[in-house]
Amino acid sequence: MKLPYERPTLRKLTAGMPNKFGPRAGARAVTALDGVAVAELVARFGSPLFVLSERQLRRSYQAAVRAFGTRYPRVQLAWSYKTNYLNAVCRVFHQEGAWAEVVSGMELEKALGNGVPGPHILFNGPGKRRADLERACEVDAVIHLDNADELHLLLDVAAGRARRPRVALRVNLDAGIVPQWDRFGFNLENGEAWQALGRVACSGRLALVGLHCHIGTYVLQPAAYGAAATKLAALARRCAQELHTAVHYLDLGGGFPSTNTLKGAYLPATDTVPPLDDYAEAVAGALLGAGFPPDELPLLVLEAGRALVDEAGSLIGTVLANKRLADGRRATILDFGVNLLFTSFWYDHHISPTREFSTAAEPTVLYGPLCMNIDMLRESIALPLLAPGDIVVVHKVGAYNMSQWQQFINLRPNVVLIDQAGQPHVIRAAETLEYLQQLEAVPAHLL
C-alpha cells in the first residue's frame, strides 16, 4: 500500500489565522447526498451535476406550514415558480398542497401543465400582456394587479365576460426596510393603492379577492413582515367598511431568507438568519390583532421561494486544473462557473471536498470554465489541497440557479432528484448540441 499523496506546499506564516476553520480543523468531506455516494452520482450522471433532495423539499415545505399554521388558523403556500420551475420540483410542492405563484404567461402554462387548478394560480408580475390576461381570465386564475395601465387593460379584457375576473391588488408599502421596493404594485402610503381599489370596486367588472405585497428578498427582519401584515390588514378592513368588499386573502409574498451567507456579511447566515418561526410570530401576531371578527379572518397566503428550495439543491463539480497567478495566489478551475451558479454573484456558498484531506489549506481563487473574466465563483476561499479530478459539492443552490442558469459556452448538465427512498431520477437531461440548435435556421444562401 502506498502512502496517500498531498502536493508539497509552503505557507507563509503571518499574524492572521492559518485557515478559517481554526488551527486544527479542515473542511469536512461530504461523501454522499441523501445517502447516495457522490462518486456514484458522478459516475452515473456526469459532472457538473445538480442534485435535488425530495426529502429536503418536503421537509422545508412542512416546516413552513408548521411555523405559520400553528400560529394562524388559515394558511396557504403558493409555490413561487421562478425560484425553481423544474416540473418535478413544482409537483413535489403541489403534492404537499401548494398553490402556484407565477409571473408570466409561460409560467402560467407551466402551472396549468402541472395540474394546478386555475383558481389556485396567483398571477403576479409587471409585464402581463393582453393575451396573458385573457388566458388568466379563461382559467380563472387570480390576477395580481401591478399598475394602473394593467388595471385598465384588464377592465377592457373583462368587458363582456360572463364571469368577473378575480383580482388582487399588489401593494408596495414602507415596512421599515431599506431600500423600499416601490417598483411593483400600487403604493400604499401615497393613496395610490386606495384609489385603485376604489376603481376596481366601482367598475363592477372585477371581483376583488385579495391584497398582496412582497416587500423584498432575503429579508432579515421579521418585524418588517409584522409591519407589512398590519398595514395590509388595515387596508382589508377599510375595503370591508368603505367599499363593502370582503377581501378573502392577504398575500404577504416571499422574501424569507435561506441560510446562505451573503457576500460581505460578517457572520455566517447559519448563525444570523432568524428562524421562520420569528417571521410567523410577527405575521400571525399582526393579523390576529388587526380587529377582524374571528369568523372573518382572511386566508394568509405566502409565496416563499428560496426558503423552501435553496437547501434542497446541491451542485457537484470537478476540479479541472490548478494554477498559480502572477501575484502568487493559488487558483482552481472548476467545471462549472457563473453560468450554472448564478447565485455566486451574491452568496458565498459553502463548498465541501468529497474526500478526506489533511488540515493544510491554501487560500484559493475559484474560477469556472468560461473564457470570461466575470467567471469567478469566489475571490478567496480556504480549501484543502485539491488536485485535478477532485470532486466538490456546493451546498444550498436550489433557488434561482436552475431557472437563471445560462446556456453560455457550455451546455447545461443533468439535474437529478433523489427521492425519499434514496433513488436518483433524472428530472432534466443534460442538453445536447442538437437540443441547442433545434430552433435555429440557416438561410439557404449560407448552406
Binding site: 502512502l3 498531498e6 508539497p8 506546499t9 509552503l10 507563509k12 506564516l13 488536485a387
Partner: protein
C-alpha cells in the same frame, strides 16, 4: 533546486529565512523535500523516492514539483 544557504528548516516543518525574517510552515511532503535538498540529495533521487512510496502519478508529481519551485521562488528561498 538550490535552497539559499542560510535557510533554516526544523523538524516540525518550519522554514525560516534569516535574510528577510519570514517564517513558513511546510506540509509534511514539502518539509521532507526541503530537508533532503538541504542534505544534498538530487531532485531526481527525491522524486524517484516519492513515486516509490506515495500514491501519485509521475506527471502529477512533476507538475506539483514545478509549483513547489514556483512557491520557493515567490518566497525568495532559492538561490
Amino acid at each position: 533546486m538550490k535552497l539559499k544557504k542560510n535557510i533554516a528548516t526544523s523538524e516540525a516543518g518550519f522554514v525560516f529565512n534569516p535574510a528577510t525574517g519570514d517564517s513558513f510552515a511546510a506540509n509534511p511532503l514539502a518539509a521532507d523535500i526541503l530537508a533532503r535538498t538541504k542534505a544534498g540529495q538530487e531532485a531526481a533521487a527525491i522524486k524517484a523516492d516519492i513515486l516509490e512510496h506515495y500514491d501519485v502519478a509521475p506527471g502529477q508529481l512533476e507538475k506539483d514539483w514545478d509549483d513547489l519551485l514556483a512557491q520557493l521562488r515567490e518566497f525568495n528561498l532559492l538561490d
